[in-house]
Symmetry: C2
């Protein structure tokens, strides 16, 4: 061992001990006749002191040669500091060095290894091994480890068994694109990397495992949006002999445990909200309920009063922004500009100031009396001092726009507090979703999700109205988990594939093994999958998942540190029985 | 919830309780006026009883329709059994059924769902979801989970952080073949799946993580030998500022903890043995030391006595098989046949019986006196009643042959006891290994392994003699872990690549990121990786890893259950910018 203790351990009680430390040179302060070295490792920083009076001359000279990020071993005596530093746990002591060994030198790092660094994103990713030396990144990775181990122990204590499912599986073109792997031994054939262990966990239920979980990497070859990764980690879970309520209770338990164990936050029973209610009230199936500003629909109050835009609209809907009645013209214009951005896409925004004195002032005073506006304010549960903001148009689009405005306002008003946690369940998702492009229904969750029995009759007459036994766990405006009660009989599963446009042959070819399994005694079952990357980020009070991944990829799916992906040589391609088929060659 | 309790929970104290159970019909015994159903779930078996006198007629009829593996829900009253069954924990009670719901029917399974099944290997793999219902397979998976969670908690408590390293990395043709993944977004380029997270864990050390571990899937596209899988699981570990002794102590701690926690076995300090000693004494770098039969070299005793075979041999080496002097001609012939098998490859076997009366009888009495044979017996530490077995020939081959004979004998003699655990460290492995095929040296462990400082001078004069800071953990004749102290400076790493025949460009292209990292302050570091599949199998007292993997692949790398790998359609290939390049098209 190169050390007897770490750079985070020593205190006043250790004074006079002879110790050996090893770590990185964070900083050297050279006062000529005296020198201090801040020595850093994962556990902290310890100050090393050398002075001309007490330190061997050769050692003093050696210390002068040390550069930032040199790796050194220091032997010395723990002494009490004259000027204590109460910002760090080791701040009461320092080490009077008696020997220093340089274990490795270091070139000047391309950015500073400090909590606030001068390195840009790409540079930090290229030198990720240096970025990880910074406290915030390292702490995020340690935090992730703690969350994962809490999840595992909680699930295990609840009788869940972690089962490793295979990574080399079969491609199922349905859904997102698969990453595929050519098989050398099976000429012309390919494995696929799993988008999730969905079918395997269902087979484990058929196999009687009863309660399964796994923290597992999944893969999706999608065009990357910001903050998506081609490989991501799921907490994947499944239970047999359960109904929706059982799954919700179990994973509410897990989430409550995590909030308590990791954040020390006690949360009461999670609210449950139907998909329809969430869409109507928040314009969104993953509402952030840390704050109010629920939607109020105003059609009956605002139409037929001569305001053509409202009269023509399918939906007129508003929110009350708390204490914003005093917004200046400039602030109002900023909001109008926000909703007109292409990403939001509204054509305008109506505002009403609910003044403290009980009067109202709006951008549509021409069409509405104060009496009218008072009714709007009541509908939106506004109080004096609030600002009503109203959008109008096609229902779905308008809700989405108002939801974006609501989130923007919350951000501006400081209502999205990182240390506040407001989980909720959104339930009764639609089974099917109309896809304009392909002109057919897609499974909103996935094709294994069971329809609600009482809605089965609607499948033929009004498929869009059929609700699924599907649910999402939402935390602070993010979907952190989603699942469903599954189909567990062949007939229903066949029918679903049929509705989703699979030919019988396609269904058999891709999912025959699952449908066959259903014929050998499949129990009722259901489950959920959490996105670990996002869950960890949100628990950590942040929203960028990349900061919680040790070696993330950039938005083109590249690892810029190792420079992957890369070209293969022809020998390797030949062995795999493939060749390139490039447009430009 | 479909049940109030499980099939493993009820005892006499529960008598008179109204319960609901759910599970699979294991067996129905129909005596006409009385019926018993064995209901099975993950937790056990509970007997259900129905009789004409007490049971509703319709229910009785329904029960008669139940087939094996039907999934049912049973309501009833817990009653005391008349004929108790003390083979199962629920054997004192049974459930007098008041209602049965069929939750799913089942076709007759293709093999019996019993501890001893009539299903062959391929059939069981095709219907793995049914195989998992069998107690031995299910118990293996639960056992694996327990081992994994013990590993994680132990490592975590020792300050190790589990960090997830990426699965989509860069191909490094060195070593075994990579599985590769075409990148759609980076035309003509490929990711590779990791053979191990080796370089990433070293970068984590450069990044100051100090102590890292991960239970992680790894991938090798090798022609599969029996009991190898293309995807396998490693317990991967790395530590900074350590020397070999620190790594050995840490992971001896882990292994000792597992043996205690999982098997209740206390093991004293693990023996340490050099590679040279292991090869000389056991003919093998992973000796099973649960039993003796150490090798004794006999050249000085046997040569120049007129026996041409021994005279011509580079090595004459033997073992003493305990209490086998009474072996019959037939038993001796079987041993001779064993060593002559092509897999072993010896041309003959010399035996010497050390009779109980102090006399000796051998297959070479023509050349050696009893006095000679007595000396052999002493050299091989034989006692009266033992059988000496001697092989001769080229050193390495002969050692390997005798090692195989030693293991065969141990198996026959019942010396390989599943409930006995004899771990040891093999250390001082050679750094390099001569490859006859390519006529150059390969890294015996991997190119990141550091040479022993004191052997560095030999690199130029006698490379085969250079020892590495490399070690294997051996348990019961299996290598369960292997690791090394790594190179942590660019100059040495470059030199190694050079010795291994990498051009400067190749080294830079494949491992430039690592060598660059070494220039920014890399600490001394080292680690180890355990094969989890094998570790679990051995702890479970078995040797076939496939029995401890939920969904294993067969020897052609196929998942016969889901029928993967499979052909892709041309659209998918086109998107990936590749096309097939088959010999037969």
């Amino acid at each position: 061992m190169y050390r007897t203790t770490t750079c985070g351990d020593l205190r006043l009680v250790n004074v006079n001990e002879e110790v050996t430390l090893a770590g990185w040179v964070q900083r050297v302060r050279d006062k000529g006749f005296m020198m201090w070295i801040d020595l850093r490792d994962r556990y902290g920083i310890t100050q090393i002191i050398l002075d001309e009076a007490r330190t061997d001359k050769a050692l003093f000279e050696l210390a002068k040669s040390l550069g930032r990020e040199f790796v050194i071993q220091v032997k010395g005596t723990v002494i009490e500091r004259e000027a204590k530093n109460n910002h760090i746990p080791t701040g009461e002591i320092e080490i009077l060095a008696t020997d220093i060994q340089i274990l490795n030198t270091a070139k000047l790092p391309p950015f500073t290894i400090e909590d606030e660094t001068d390195g840009g994103d790409e540079l930090r990713m290229k030198y990720r091994y240096l970025d990880i030396r910074r406290n915030p990144v390292r702490d995020n990775l340690i935090f992730r480890h703690k969350v994962a181990i809490e999840v595992r122990n909680y699930m295990s204590n609840q009788g869940f068994i972690e089962v490793e499912t295979p990574y080399l599986i079969k491609s199922t073109p349905e859904g997102a694109r698969d990453f595929v792997v050519p098989s050398r031994m099976n000429e012309g054939q390919f494995y696929a990397l799993p988008q999730s262990p969905q079918t395997f966990k269902q087979l484990l239920m058929v196999g009687g495992m009863d309660k399964y979980f796994q923290i597992v990497k999944c893969f999706r070859d999608e065009d990357l949006r910001a903050d998506r990764q081609p490989e991501f980690t799921q907490i994947d879970c499944e239970m047999a002999f359960v109904e929706q309520e059982d799954v919700l209770n179990t994973f509410e338990g897990l989430t409550r445990h995590l909030l308590k164990a990791i954040k020390g936050v006690e949360v009461a029973e999670f609210p449950r909200m139907t998909y329809d209610y969430a869409m109507k009230t928040y314009g969104n199936d993953k509402p952030d309920i840390r704050f109010g500003m629920q939607f109020g629909e105003l059609n009956d109050l605002v139409q037929n009063k001569g305001f053509a835009i409202f009269d023509a609209a399918e939906l007129v809907v508003g929110i009350a922004a708390p204490n914003c009645a005093q917004y200046s013209r400039k602030e109002l214009d900023a909001l109008i500009e926000f909703v007109k951005r292409p990403q939001v896409g509204a054509s305008g925004l109506i505002w009403v100031k609910c003044n403290e004195d009980g009067t109202y002032k709006s951008s549509v005073d021409k069409f509405y009396t104060e009496e009218d506006l008072k009714l709007w304010a009541e509908r939106l549960q506004a109080k004096a001092g609030d600002l009503l903001l109203v959008l109008a148009g096609e229902t779905t689009k308008t809700r989405t726009q108002l939801s974006m405005l609501r989130m923007e306002l919350a951000k501006n008003l400081g209502l999205r507090k990182a240390d506040e946690f407001a989980p909720l369940w959104v339930v009764d998702f639609p089974l099917l979703e109309w896809d304009e492009e392909t002109k057919r229904f897609h499974a909103m969750h996935h094709p294994f999700t069971s329809p609600k029995k009482e809605d089965l009759d609607l499948l033929k007459t009004n498929p869009a109205k059929v609700r699924a036994n599907a649910y999402d766990l939402v935390l602070n405006g993010n979907e952190i988990g989603g699942g469903s009660i599954r189909i567990h009989d062949k007939a229903t599963q066949k029918m679903m594939f049929d509705y989703l446009g699979f030919t019988e042959k396609e269904a058999e070819n891709q999912f025959g093994f699952l449908m066959n399994a259903f014929e050998f005694g499949a129990p009722p079952h259901g489950g959920i999958a959490f996105g670990l990357d996002r869950l960890v980020a949100i628990l950590g009070g942040q929203e960028t998942i990349r900061d919680f991944i040790a070696f993330p990829k950039n938005n083109s799916g590249r690892d810029v540190m190792i420079d992957a992906p890369a070209a293969l040589d022809n020998v390797q391609l030949k062995e795999l029985n493939i060749k390139l088929d490039l447009l430009n060659f």
